[in-house]
């Protein structure tokens, strides 16, 4: 089945797969968004527990998707993995650090004798949801702004900036993307909580109101950053591969050209934005609990064209602004045809995996999370 595809088709297929995983991760950052809402949305301990226990049943999915995103990039585009992780060292270490502390925080926060106290674990969750997502956004931003590195004959990376990746966080374009993702995650988090928590009791009504409002205000707060990011994206000079010579050159309006050359991507972007906006509106101005599905699908649809613009249409997805010809494209950074073929068969399991996740999500969330479940200290299965 995949054996008939040539190397270039496989490279493109794998960029699509990576884009899908990356975009699904963006949707699943509703967990991180929920984590940052903890410091503002709940007014009582019960409300806080409700939020933590609601997102706490999903955090591993987000975490695992990030790990898979890394694993898929390693398997399909190992030169990117080597160049970016070994080069932009500090930005990745900082991101990882926030995910390490996240992983223990749900479980340990409320447990007696937990050494650091509940507040510290809540701070960990906040750091993961804010700094972690912001830095992931700036790292993705470098797909367009480029990084300062050079590769030698043996593909060893030499990073040319002393901050080793953190310099990306000083570029307004990258930071805009990062900040938008932080606000988007908060908005998604609020929409998810609206869907997941049982608000029928009177003591929960107020939280519902606050969360519905938060979904709206956070998207609104993120909007200027999105507008700046998109405007800059279509106006900026982009990195382009000259198909004749294979050389990388700067091309004015490159990313606009990419979008125009891929009407599907443009359509996805437009549809995605409408869905996110519609979801948030319905969350704020109706009694609907389904907003997260529109917002989530919309987020995936917005994510895909951003990845497509970075990697398709003769574009190096990890460009070097220092040495244009060290730039990495899906063609020069990929694994061999054999490996991509073998991996494609493995990836056939992905729809099945998505299927059982969806099925068990449904089974577990048929009944909404009730206050009784969280406050009943006889059952210890709470966060």
């Amino acid at each position: 089945m995949f054996g008939k595809l040539d190397l270039m088709q496989l490279q493109q297929l794998w960029w699509i797969i990576v884009s899908i995983v990356g975009s699904l991760f963006l949707f699943l950052t509703f967990v991180q968004g929920g984590q940052t809402l903890l410091s503002s949305a709940p007014k009582t301990d019960l409300e806080k527990s409700m939020i933590i226990n609601s997102i706490g049943r999903k955090w591993e999915l987000t975490f695992t998707t990030l790990v898979l995103f890394g694993g898929a990039l390693f398997a399909a585009f190992p030169l990117f993995y080597a160049t970016s992780f070994g080069g932009a060292y500090w930005v990745w270490i900082a991101i990882l650090f926030t995910f390490v502390v996240q992983a223990v925080s749900f479980e340990y926060r409320k447990k007696p004798n937990n050494l650091l106290g509940a507040r510290t674990y809540e701070l960990f969750l906040f750091l993961n949801g804010s700094v972690g997502i912001l830095l992931i956004g700036t790292a993705v931003g470098t797909f367009f702004t480029g990084s300062q590195f050079q590769l030698d004959d043996y593909n060893l990376v030499m990073w040319q900036h002393p901050l080793r990746g953190l310099e990306a966080a000083f570029n307004p374009f990258n930071v805009s993307l990062g900040l938008f993702l932080v606000f988007l995650a908060r908005s998604l988090g609020a929409m998810y909580l609206i869907n997941n928590i049982d608000f029928r009791l009177d003591i929960m009504k107020d939280l519902e109101k606050r969360l519905r409002k938060a979904a709206f205000t956070n998207l609104l707060a993120g909007l200027p950053f999105l507008v700046f990011f998109l405007a800059k994206l279509v106006l900026m000079d982009g990195f382009a591969i000259d198909p004749a010579s294979g050389e990388v050159v700067m091309e004015p309006g490159k990313y606009l050209h990419n979008l125009l050359a891929m009407p599907v991507a443009m359509g996805l972007l437009a549809l995605g934005l409408v869905l996110v906006g519609g979801g948030v509106f319905s969350c704020r101005f109706s009694k609907s609990r389904a907003a997260i599905w529109f917002g989530g699908l919309g987020t995936v649809l917005v994510g895909l064209p951003i990845f497509f613009t970075a990697g398709f249409n003769n574009t190096p997805f990890y460009p070097s602004a220092f040495d244009l010809n060290s730039s990495l494209s899906i063609y020069n950074a990929s694994s061999s045809r054999y490996t991509l073929t073998a991996m494609s068969y493995i990836a056939l399991a992905v729809p099945f995996v998505l299927g059982y996740i969806a099925y068990f999500w449904h089974l577990m969330d048929r009944e909404k999370l009730s206050t009784g479940e969280v406050s009943d200290f006889n059952t210890k299965e709470t966060y």
Binding site: E60, A82, V100, V104, E107, L115, V157, F360, E381
Partner: protein, 517 residues
Amino acid sequence: MIDQLNLTMVNWARAQFALTAMYHWLFVPLTLGLSFLLAFFETLYVKTGKEEWKRITKFWMMLFAINFAIGVATGIILEFEFGTNWSNYSWMVGDIFGAPLAAEGIFAFFIEATFFAVMFFGWDRVSKKMHLFSTWMVAIGSNLSALWILVANGWMQYPVGMNFNPDKARFEMANFWEVIFSPVAISKFTHATSSSFQVAALFVIGVSAWFLLKKRHRDMARKSIIVASVFGLLASGFVIFTGDEAAYTNARVQPMKLAAFEGLYDGEAGVGLVAAGILNPAKKPGDSEETFLFEVKLPGLLSLLANREPNSFVPGINDLVYGNTEHGVMGVNEKIANGRIAIELLSQYKNAQKENNPTRAATALANFDNYKEYLGFGYLNSPEEAVPPVALTFYSFHIMVILGTLFPLVFLLFLFYAYKDTLSRQKWLLWLGLFSVPLAYVASQAGWIVAEVGRQPWTIQNLLPVTVARSNITAGAVQTTFFLFLALFTVLLIAEIRIMLKQIQIGPDFSGMPEDE
């Protein structure tokens, strides 16, 4: 490449990998084994319908969750550390090594992530049978993730199913099935999982023994001990069998590791196995010092272990370093010479291509093919560099084997007294059970020290030494992150142990049930 070597950075990167891997491995064995024990306990609940089994399951599940969280936290660093500290490795073998890592994500991590939530929070949300299914899936998922990562590790120890691509200067996969079903991968997986089952069984026995000593929850403790002892005893059979298999495979593919963990400097036919010994610290390869200050040797046994033939020849460190023509062993010195030729030919090939000289390129490549299997040796500075730290490997191996032999006896004793129903009176045995818990962790860590220190200086056996596998970053950067992770993981470990001990002290929840003794 070689002119940029920075040994200090390499050593910090090695230390960091050792640190993060060992921290991670403090939590993994319990996850691998306890997940199955949970599945057994819950199966008993569903089969018998007795509420007490449910409470027992829930108690151990609570401890499982505390351990699981920190296992996840320490695990994510490892995946990305290949990129941050070992980026040249990631590039040179990513074509092969990346695949099992991605497969681990797709096939294993999502099973764990999905079903852990059902297992922990789904008691009242899904049917009894669906819950049991989820608990089993957590066990299967955890062990599947071990399978994929051990396939990847096994490939580093015994690189098969691949070719070197001179144009890209990297190794590429040629046969996926050879990588997965490599004998080293299989023996790694079976040995690591079965020994982890022992760790988990001893953990359950140790905690239960504490309850018996405290005269609390005696019924639960006895029941847990019986299930865990049977599981541990069965696992012990596998541990011994797969350990023997691992030694046999080592003799074929990593003879230097075998020589190091046995402290064998001069190879001989019908060589004995050192059951216990104290190494002479002054001993170096090539000198005439005595190897041991003290040793207890079982005659002929090492030859039997290594080659299944009591009179066979087993090469020692000196044979492997300096060569032994009589037994057809090529020395590292000769391999280094060949390796340097390979490096030179590869560079000639690259230059000829740059100069657009296809004839010269073809000649260089044809010659390179004759020497390419020694490529990695070309980066070693001296033959002695191919010798791993002998003492660390030797002692770790012996600690692992001695403890691994004692554990089945512990399981047997517990089963015996449980059968006689006099467990509570055997104070000595209960203390032994309690002290076996840290020993189980020591044995488990020692096993990884043998596997990983014993293969130094290679990242990929014979192909890629650690000095070439590294990233191009400063020693200071790696040193900083080393201490960062050391501090963070130590704090988290202390928190984990405190929480765990507190939860054990609180004990299981039998409220609303007839109180057990």
